[in-house]
Amino acid sequence: MPQFQFDHHDLPPAAEALRGEVRAFLAEHLADYPPALRAHSWTGFDAEFSRKLGARGWIGMTWPKEHGGGERTAFERYVLLEELLAAGAPVGAHWISDRQSGPLLLRYGTDEQRQKILPAIVRGKCFFCIGMSEPDSGSDLASIRTRGEWSEGDSSWVLNGTKVWTTHAHSCHYMVALVRIGTDPKERHEGLTQFLIDLSTPGIGIRPIKDLAGGEHFDEVVFENAVIPDSMRIGEVGAGWQQVMAELAFERSGPERYLSSFELIRQLVRVSEKRDSERLRVAVGRLVAHIATLRRMSISIAGMLEEGLDPALEASVLKDLGTTFEQEIPEIVHELLGLEPSADSGDEIHQVLAYLMQHAPSFSLRGGTREILRGIIARGLGLR
């Protein structure tokens, strides 16, 4: 039976040295950043903050120098990410480009695409969104219907279709879209191709979708005869499915999969400082044991990435455990303290609870639902 391997890795000194730099930077730039905004974690969008990180060399930091990267290790990147997340820094503007779109282009993009895009990402001036889900295709991603038709005359593809839940599309420069080429219904996977799409292209409409809390952070993106030059194709025609699976492995492996509720844990510990309560202390101790364990597992995955291994299965395990953990935090705080979640309360913990109570349902949906992850893990166990 295949075993999931989470071998222990210690962070190397260079990574620990970086930690101090990041903390000093955050102390300077986020001094008065309120807890209610820190609770937004990696969905907080602040283009100016991203530019500042870029100026420090903290976007694309593992990428080759010829593309503007810093050739730093996966461990250093891990430390940067966990420090940003623990502080609740607004990293949402560049998060997708740093985490998956840039690495995708590095692996499958053309020289022209890499030269044009990667240095801009690194400077924190080029933001990406993900064009995968559609109105009729969520977990069943291979059923997407956004279609590309070849136009021989101008060596272009004409795109028609709709993408949804596209985070920050209205503020992004590019989308990496998964598109169906050809019409053979038997070619569920074989017909899929990825495109690099300039969102200012004529024929692309972006409309916000209001979420349950009234926020407008994700969008519907409609393609109506949008003409995309063949030079914007990523990888071979038909290679899209395989590329997307590799991309999702990046998406599932990071510390953002267990730290989304960290601000609320911090608030809970603040309450425990002053309250003599055994059940509060037991709850806090348990949460800390869980974070420490998830962190060890996440560092282990960083170690696998550094060694050039493929941690796709372990990433799914971590994401399922991590999102289950971060999702239960508002419930635990509710049970322990019985506070009313309230955005207009003057109290920080009420505000943080209000945000996370409403957003926690998305933790086990975004980037592949819990059910999809458990299916992947079961396949790893040889059950399917």
Partner: protein, 341 residues
């Protein structure tokens, strides 16, 4: 996993396959000491993995995990810890199984004799020697005594592993010395929690492997259980819990090798204990009624998990220990303390 660990694992698996039969398991539950099994373990040099100056907890972990996975009814972990404590106190370890005793009433009386009682002493009736942790005003001392010198009241845990009460009344102490290995805030209970975590991880590995095998074989509604999504998802959770317990426990053993391991050990016992409950629940659910019989071997693992997670401090005990420390340090130190580990 390194090659040395792999080799050790194979040796142990072979040894248990040959000498730990169903018959031996059942006899042990009836109170019979599995002498032949112990002799094999001793002759293969597997009973004192922490006795040498350069021995490592992380290597010994493999022994505890495999023995835990096979539900070996012998005090391997206790003997290893006893050897480590004796070495730490500069004392020689006797041959044979050694158990561990602690209790608030244990005192060293004048003339170097041990008095007081220790509860839940593993294999107290079988191990010829016992290492007692004696706390006094001048710190912690390790005392080696013969178990025969105590009044023994037999008891067992859920898995019918001996957990006896030993009462000492001015018992002769064979050797005694202060121990620096147990630093401030550390205790026999802490290291007991460490070894139990590894045994739990072994038990979880076993439940996962057996459950995967079972659902592949068992056919209902015309297809193997493995093909049902509800079953797949339960086993995915079992696998993830097993992985988390394993990662937390490995971190604790590595920390024990470095010293100052109280945080990691507490985290490992909490995480593995929590996984134990969830894993036992899932393994029994997918096995159905057959797994609830004495005839099926599943209970050898699950009854141990239910006991081991409570021994040397259950999740609530260690969670409160951690919670007290976290609250004392405060919210502003929370993240920096976590990353300092």
């Amino acid at each position: 996993m390194n090659e040395q660990h792999e080799l050790l694992r194979e040796t142990l698996e072979r040894l248990f396959a040959d000498h730990l039969t169903r018959e031996v398991m059942e006899a042990a539950e009836q109170g019979e000491w599995p002498a032949a099994l112990w002799k094999e373990l001793e002759e293969n040099g597997l009973t004192q993995p922490l006795l040498d100056e350069d021995s490592s907890f992380d290597d010994a972990r493999v022994i505890f995990e495999v023995a835990g996975g096979r539900a070996a009814p012998v005090p391997l972990a206790e003997t290893a810890l006893a050897g480590w404590l004796l070495r730490g106190a500069g004392l020689d370890a006797p041959d044979g199984p050694i158990s561990l005793a602690s209790g608030e009433s244990l005192t060293l009386t004048e003339g170097g004799r041990l008095s007081g009682s220790a509860e839940r002493v593993p294999w107290g009736r079988n191990a010829p020697h016992v290492v007692a942790e004696v706390r006094g005003e001048d710190g912690v001392r390790i005392a080696l005594v013969e178990s025969g010198a105590a009044d023994c009241a037999a008891g067992t845990n859920l898995a019918l592993e001996p957990r006896d009460t030993l009462r000492f009344d001015r018992a002769t102490v064979l050797a005694c010395a202060p121990i620096a290995l147990l630093q401030e805030g550390e205790s026999l209970r802490l290291y007991g929690a460490l070894v139990r975590s590894a045994q739990i991880v072994g038990g979880l590995d076993y439940l996962l492997a057996e459950s995967v095998r079972f659902v592949g074989d068992r056919v209902q509604f015309g297809r193997p259980l493995a093909k049902f999504q509800a079953i797949q998802h339960m086993l995915a959770v079992l696998a993830s819990e097993t992985a988390a317990a394993g990662a937390a426990t490995q971190a604790a053993f590595l920390a024990a090798d470095r010293g100052n391991a109280a945080f990691e050990i507490a985290a490992a016992k909490i995480r593995s204990g929590e996984a134990a409950g969830e894993a036992a629940r899932i393994a029994h659910q997918v096995h159905g009624a057959i797994g609830f019989t004495y005839e099926h071997a599943l209970h050898f693992a699950t009854r141990r998990l239910w006991s081991w997670r409570a021994e040397f401090g259950a999740e609530a005990f260690w969670a409160e220990t951690l919670g007290v420390a976290v609250a004392a340090r405060g919210a502003d130190a929370l993240w920096s303390d976590l990353t300092a580990r």
